[in-house]
Amino acid sequence: MIALLIRDLRLAFRAGGGFGLGLGFFLILAVLVPLGVGPDPVTLGIIAPGILWVGALLACLLSLDRLFALDHEDGSLDLLATSPIPLEGVVAVKALAHWGTTGLPLALAAPVLGILLNLPGAAYATLMLSLILGTPALSMIGAFGAALTVGLKRGGLLLSLLVLPMYMPTLVFGAQAVTRAAQGLDPTTPLVLLAGITAGSTALLPFAAAFALRINLR
């Protein structure tokens, strides 16, 4: 399983792997919003938590369709399915690799974009913490969506249609945590709920995703 994790990470970091695409998208979004909304620092400060979280959501979505698709095309997914590792484990590892190449860098880069969007100073720690707690759930849910659509020729658009509604609770709790911290309130409750969603989806969704993969490999 560790070998699989290293393989996936290496594939992502290599040229053409798409690492950094999500980050670049995240940065562009943080530049586009002030251009669209106007440069007023007060307005930007109010909407910054929401923009950063929506940006993280969309950036995670970008690389989802290749999570299983490339392995499905060249047949390595069939090999993984027949290997001694349970398919549930494969899904979990692949989601972890996806998180390591999108969610984690996003969480680390978010404070810089927070400055661009004039996020109040009290919220930076919560912003990073909420992204670190919440983005694994995004990768897990995304892995389930990718498993559902892996056999389809043009699954990308359908994937976002399926996955984005399921991202809603994560978005609400994540953005609420940051907003509360920005207003000087205690962000513990949304953070705990966010961690709960991540724990729940990590525990249950690999089984659903592996089930969907087995159907698609039939």
Binding site: L148, L162, L164, P165, M166, M168, F173
Partner: protein, 244 residues
């Protein structure tokens, strides 16, 4: 009394639905017609909301069926996954667009009522938001059905989506409550003592609700029958082609 599982046999299901569908359709039409006539013309206007209150006779039954259609899809998806009865999967497929339409009716009638009452077509209220999200779940479900060619694969994958989607739909409901305080009033109907509605409102409302349930039954039966017939014709065509 025959077991419910007998109707997993398409022939028996077709025989049952052959008379059940028209009966429920006619009953639904009668109940909704009487309920709406009673509600629109015989019930007095509300002392504060005037005639706008009367949209409740469409709004509440549609919202009721929007949620229960999803619940029915959940049950039929489970039956399909566990017992592999094709009729069950096809019933879930048929219920999808109907549930989506009911959700849309609830949203639109709500907006029409909300404009004069709340002064706005739309508010980001938890109930409204969760209904919009429910609608998105329906759209995703229907889109997945139409995207996959192999019927059994499609049935399996949409069933899994329905199960996981139900969890997230419920989660979204509570996330929406956490996110914003509501503008939408609480439940007007309740089994608790001291109900707040007069019978001149409750009567037509109950009639319309039963009518919508029957309407849903008739529509799902019609949709399932169509799907079964489509499969039969496809099988026949494959057989013909194999023979030729």
């Amino acid at each position: 009394m025959a077991s419910l599982w007998e109707y997993a046999n398409p022939v028996k299901f077709m025989r049952l639905s052959n008379w059940l569908m028209p009966v429920s359709a006619v009953l639904a039409a009668a109940l909704i017609a009487v309920g709406l006539y009673w509600g629109f013309f015989l019930t007095p206007d509300d002392y504060r909301q005037g005639a706008t209150i009367k949209i409740i006779f469409l709004h509440v039954p549609a919202a009721l069926m929007a949620i229960n259609a999803w619940a029915m899809m959940l049950v039929t998806s489970l039956i399909w996954l566990i017992r592999r009865h094709h009729v069950s999967a096809l019933a879930a497929k048929a219920a999808g667009p109907i549930g989506a339409t009911m959700t849309l009716i609830a949203l639109i009638t709500g907006a029409i009522w909300g404009q004069p009452m709340w002064g706005t077509w739309w508010a980001w209220d938890p109930r409204l938001t969760s209904f919009l999200i429910l609608f998105l779940f329906y759209v995703g479900y229907i889109a997945l059905w139409s995207a996959i060619e192999d019927p059994d694969t499609a049935a399996d994958l949409t069933a899994v989506l329905c199960l996981v989607g139900s969890v997230f739909a419920v989660l979204s409901r509570y996330a929406a409550l956490f996110w914003n305080q509501g503008l939408h009033q609480g439940a007007s109907l309740s089994v608790a003592p001291g109900t707040r509605m007069d019978w001149s409102y409750k009567g037509p409302l109950y009639l319309c609700m039963i009518g919508f349930v029957l309407l849903f039954v008739a529509l799902v039966l019609a949709g399932t029958r169509t799907e079964i017939r489509a499969r039969r014709s496809r099988a026949l065509m494959t057989r013909e082609r194999a023979r030729a």
